[in-house]
Symmetry: C2
Subunit: 354 residues, 2 copies
């Protein structure tokens, strides 16, 4: 029977993309549009040349990103969002027999990639306060994935702890997934010259407001990036289309706007965090563009449903340990005022803004 040869997998479930206009705080998108430079570059791109294949090496974009971080293009890899980059990393780096390690509560795509590529893996529980127990990772492993700041908890580990961890596990490839690092935390990019086994993965979907362009990237030693390229070129020679090459390069050139929207989001996060605490929510300080909250008096799923009725979408994970938590993306100030008001009503309290 032809179905006997089918790979049976349970895919990752992305956050809902509702068709209508809602307050969308469920997939950690940036509430502000991309840089005007990106939009101009996309409007003015040479679309006649779409008849030709794009540069399979994505050299110009890699150079632009590498320059920004003060490293070399040979240390830089690009892909179709950090999901593509991480997927390629799993396929390239985790071909051993020992289990790959990552936290029990983290980006829930890690175990999906492990499953689809047949990679053995083991989850290491977070501490009660949602810190990653960096001391608990056994030396015998097939590789390690750490998300910093972690998702969906928002907890940041300082670079010193990450460095100590990478140094200790010098016989494994360590992936540090830094999807949210721009919102608070120090990047491990400056460690790649010191540790050949370190891959740092980033995305333009969040802090660069380019979720719809699908651009992610990774840093690592020349050797590590070389292995990653071998696998990438064994899957798809041309992953990055002309618009993503052109638009992503332009995004790296508007530092002023980048800093402006980061500043705005961080300021909103700080104000919203205070207001959420006034409403009785409990959570760790967030280093990302979302907060991960629980309320001692109200079930998270109930709050989720009641927000949804008001066309406010947040994220609830039906998963042990975090079933009573909600992940709320930081939107615009206007959106967050509506959210806080709604939460106040749902909790039967006066909102912080009233």
């Amino acid at each position: 029977m032809w179905e006997d040869n089918i790979r049976r997998v349970v895919p990752y479930t992305p956050g809902e993309q509702p068709g209508r206009r809602v307050i969308k705080l469920n997939t950690n998108e940036c509430p502000y549009p991309p840089s005007e430079k990106v939009i101009r570059a996309l409007k003015e791109a040479d679309y006649e040349s779409l008849r030709l294949y794009p540069d399979p090496l994505c050299l110009k974009l890699r150079e632009r990103i590498a320059d920004y971080y003060g490293i070399g293009p040979e240390n830089t890899f690009v892909g179709v969002g950090s999901d593509d980059v991480l997927s390629m990393c799993f396929l390239a780096f985790f071909a051993g027999k020992l289990p790959v390690l990552f936290p029990d509560i983290t980006y829930s795509f890690y175990d999906v990639w492990a499953a689809v590529y047949g990679i053995p893996c083991k989850e290491i529980p977070l501490a009660e306060d949602f810190s990653i127990r960096l001391g608990d990772y056994p030396h015998e492993n097939g590789g390690i994935v750490i998300c910093n700041p972690n998702a969906p908890t928002g907890v940041v580990h300082p670079l010193s702890e990450i460095e100590e961890f990478v140094k200790k596990h010098d016989e494994s490839v360590i992936i540090v997934d830094e999807a949210y690092i721009d919102f608070g935390g120090e990047s491990a990019v400056r460690l790649i010259g010191k540790y050949e086994n370190l891959a740092v993965v980033r995305t333009m979907s969040k802090s660069r407001a380019l979720a719809g362009l699908r651009v992610g990237y990774a840093f690592g030693s020349k050797k590590l990036i070389g292995y990653l390229n071998d696998v990438k070129f064994s899957v798809n020679s041309y992953t990055m289309n002309l618009p993503s090459l052109v638009g992503a390069a332009a995004a790296m050139e508007d530092e002023e706007y980048f800093q402006e929207i980061l500043g705005r989001i961080i300021k909103t996060r700080s104000r919203v965090s205070e207001e959420l605490r006034s409403l009785g929510f409990r959570f760790r300080e967030s280093g990302s563009n979302f907060v991960f909250v629980t309320h001692p008096e109200k079930d998270a799923e109930e709050i989720f449903e009641k927000l949804r009725e008001r066309d406010i979408f947040v994220r609830h994970f039906n998963r042990e340990r975090i079933r009573n938590y909600l992940r709320i993306s930081i939107g615009t100030d206007e959106e967050m005022v509506i959210l806080i008001k709604a939460l106040g009503e749902i909790l039967g309290k006066k909102g912080a803004d009233e």
Copy 2:
């Protein structure tokens, strides 16, 4: 040692993308620009919305493609070029233990995907005249991939033979890779309602002049496409960026331009084929946008190098059985005049045009 866990692979080598202006007949790109409708759609797209993730289901694009072929969106899958689609098909459909079968001379990415995903495979030799020996494929197999028209030979098999083949191998998933079908040949798309085990893979890179946008698609039964989606959503939720969704949908709406450039390419192919025969080249009639030629008096690699010296790029595969062949993409009439003249000189003959 961290390198022990690395997946060691020999990647596919794409055709060269020279930076300077040359006559580029080496990667089967369309010599004409994409439809004006595509260019307009890309210039006018709502790039502010790039801050949001694109539709992970790509529903509008799938509907547009499905409508064009008179099937349903549930029978239609889209990906980042047909390479992404084929790669996902290999991962999804070929998880068994028996070898997957494909011709010895065919798209040379098939054995690369088999290697990277650890899929056992077996090559079935083409006949001496480069026909696929459809009768030679053993019933016991883990799946079959047939490229029709075949690359790099250009040989087309009639749909009746393909149907007989699919019917016979009803216990295997059969992938029919139709990257070049628009240039001559009847598509197997109309068989998908009859055979649940058939996947038909297409691309917009060639006949739609959109190599730089990276859009491929596949057709199959609802069940087969469902399995493909499960694997796709286990790798990357959002593979198609906003520009590719918008541009590809527009491409399906300009039938007039599509037919016009197809007609031009086929006419050029016919004229060039005659001229190549006058120069002494031998080849099977091509059903694609390239010709696959050999010359009884001159070594193919030597012709390749001499064309390259003249900034004319064609493709030479350093591979048994076809080492003395060149694959020449059909360019514009102007480009082909220059090619024929150069070949005449290299062969020490007067070109057909002189």
